[in-house]
């Protein structure tokens, strides 16, 4: 019998976790070596005394209720093992990391001797797990933050790659892509006709020479804005280069596209630009015909524009 008791004591003191036996009135009946080492409280000094004398900070109403539950139901009860300790506080001496200064404990209260109202409290140090979790959460937050920046940057780069920096309209590259798609779509669906309007600000060189490049830029921005406001939703407007703009117009015939071009011409003509006055623009219009490529369509629009310039400017010509 005494040999068995000796074995039990050896096992009890060899446990790699804190273990204590306590009764419903919180009197300590056993306190193992792990607890002696980690709390600095010897078993001789605590056995037979109330735990409250050593750890007054514990909520004893809750603790005693847990003991009662354990005894009545003959089943283990647990303390919440998240970041706030609800049981005893044990300092942590880990030097390589400083995330936790006290041990994070997982506390289980198990039935021990029900008739004597005693339970066994097992205390496991889960600080390393918590530190790992905290580090992972921190890293995850960093990744999410970096990903947000990356997504924003990617969007910004995408926008920059297809936008003219001065007028914020689509640039020539984007217009070529859209034109290619429209030609392909036209290839699949013959009913889906479209046309191209190319416009050039009249006497733009004179504007630059007379008023300077800053006013010239203002004129280009004003033209871009008025064209944007006048075209239909779904039509594609781009700055082709210099003072030239191109509009791709869907679902039109000759009459409709010339009407659109005339509307744009009038809008520019009626516009008043601060510090400068009014300007005009010439328009070349062409409609997609069977066998057209982007080059032939552009060629005919350019030809029409040339004719508009030659015939006195501030007019629309179709080719």
């Amino acid at each position: 019998m005494s040999e068995n008791l000796e074995y039990c004591t050896i096992v009890f003191d060899s446990l790699e976790n804190g273990t204590l036996i306590i009764d419903e009135n919180c009197i300590v009946w056993a306190w193992n070596k792990w607890l002696e080492i980690n709390t600095g409280i010897s078993s001789e000094s605590i056995i037979g005394k109330s735990l409250e004398l050593f750890y007054p900070e514990i909520n004893y109403r809750g603790f005693q209720r847990k003991i009662r539950t354990t005894l009545r139901l003959s089943t283990p009860t647990f303390y919440d093992a998240s970041l706030s300790n609800r049981f005893i506080t044990i300092p942590r001496n880990k030097i390589s990391t400083s995330l936790l200064t006290t041990m994070q404990l997982q506390v289980t209260i198990s039935p021990y001797i029900a008739e004597m109202q005693r339970v066994m409290v097992s205390i496991h140090d889960i600080s390393d797990l918590h530190e790992l979790k905290m580090t992972l959460q921190q890293k995850m937050a960093e990744i999410v933050h970096l990903n947000t920046i990356l997504t924003k940057d990617r969007k910004r780069i995408e926008i920059l790659s297809i936008t003219d920096p001065l007028t914020k309209l689509y640039n020539r590259q984007k217009l070529n892509d859209v034109l290619e798609m429209m030609l392909l779509r036209r290839h699949w669906n013959e009913e889906n006709s479209f046309g191209m309007i190319i416009t050039d600000v009249d006497y733009f060189k004179k504007v630059n020479d007379t008023y300077g490049h800053q006013v010239g830029d203002k004129v280009l921005i004003a033209v871009a804005n008025i064209l944007s406001q006048t075209i239909r939703t779904g039509d594609i407007l781009a700055r082709w280069g210099g003072e030239e703009f191109v509009v791709l117009v869907s679902d039109v015939d000759k009459e409709k596209i010339c009407f659109v071009a005339e509307k744009l011409r009038t809008a520019i003509e009626q516009m008043n630009i601060p510090d400068m006055g009014t300007i005009t623009a010439s328009f070349g219009v062409s409609l997609f015909v069977e066998g057209d490529t982007d080059e032939t369509l552009m060629y005919r629009s350019d030809l029409a524009l040339y004719r508009a310039k030659k015939n006195g400017r501030n007019r629309v010509e179709f080719s």
Partner: protein, 205 residues
């Protein structure tokens, strides 16, 4: 017989046993927490992943925050006990158990774990006792979840055929209520069926 062929007789017996277990739970809570509550008649079904997802979506409104406590139990019969409380109910519970007007997060978490302990121990233990077996409970974990997305995709994928046992618990005076789910899967369904068969034999012997 496959798990999916869990018969109506098996489900009826399980429902009966759950009624007994829930009676036990309400009595224990009244004794241990001095709170007098009621539990709804349990809903029991054999389902699959989508069924579980839809059931949770139908049962639990999506526009709230919930304290979700999950506790595994194992043995001859095993599974997962899930207890779900609204933020408001959990605060009321923390307030009631710790007698604090404004309980801190730690108080609330501990109160939720405490109630889950009692519920799982009384319901599952009584159920398994009726089935002449014993289970062991593992450390529960609680998290605050936004909406009714209670079970992660990875977890859902881990469950194939599932038995859902669900009920609602209400403590009117304390304004506390919660949803209880007991999930079991795969081989455990087979074992449960076997245990119920033994119980049936015992009853009709």
């Amino acid at each position: 017989m496959q798990a999916s062929e869990f018969s109506d007789d098996h489900l009826d017996i399980l429902k009966e046993l759950m009624n007994i277990a829930m009676g036990n739970a309400t009595a224990s809570i009244a004794d241990l927490l001095q709170a007098f509550g009621t539990m709804h008649i349990p809903y029991i079904s054999v389902s699959d992943l989508n069924g579980l997802k839809s059931f949770i979506e139908e049962t639990i409104p999506n526009d709230r925050q919930y304290y979700v406590t999950k506790q595994l139990f194992g043995g001859m019969f095993g599974g997962e006990f899930i207890f779900v409380m609204t933020d408001e109910s959990a605060v009321n519970l923390g307030n009631y158990l710790y007698d604090i007007s404004k309980p801190e997060r730690a108080d609330i978490l501990d109160a939720v774990v405490e109630l889950t302990n009692i519920l799982s121990a009384t319901i599952v233990s009584r159920l398994t006792e009726e089935l002449n077996t014993k289970v062991q409970f593992f450390v529960p974990s609680t998290e605050l979840v936004e909406g009714n997305n209670l079970i992660g995709l990875a977890e859902i994928l881990d469950y194939h055929k599932i038995i859902i046992v669900s009920t609602q618990m209400v403590f009117q005076t304390q304004n506390i209520s919660g949803y209880i789910f007991i999930l079991t899967k795969g081989e455990m369904i087979e074992r449960l069926r076997h245990l119920i068969d033994q119980k049936l034999e015992e009853l009709y012997a």
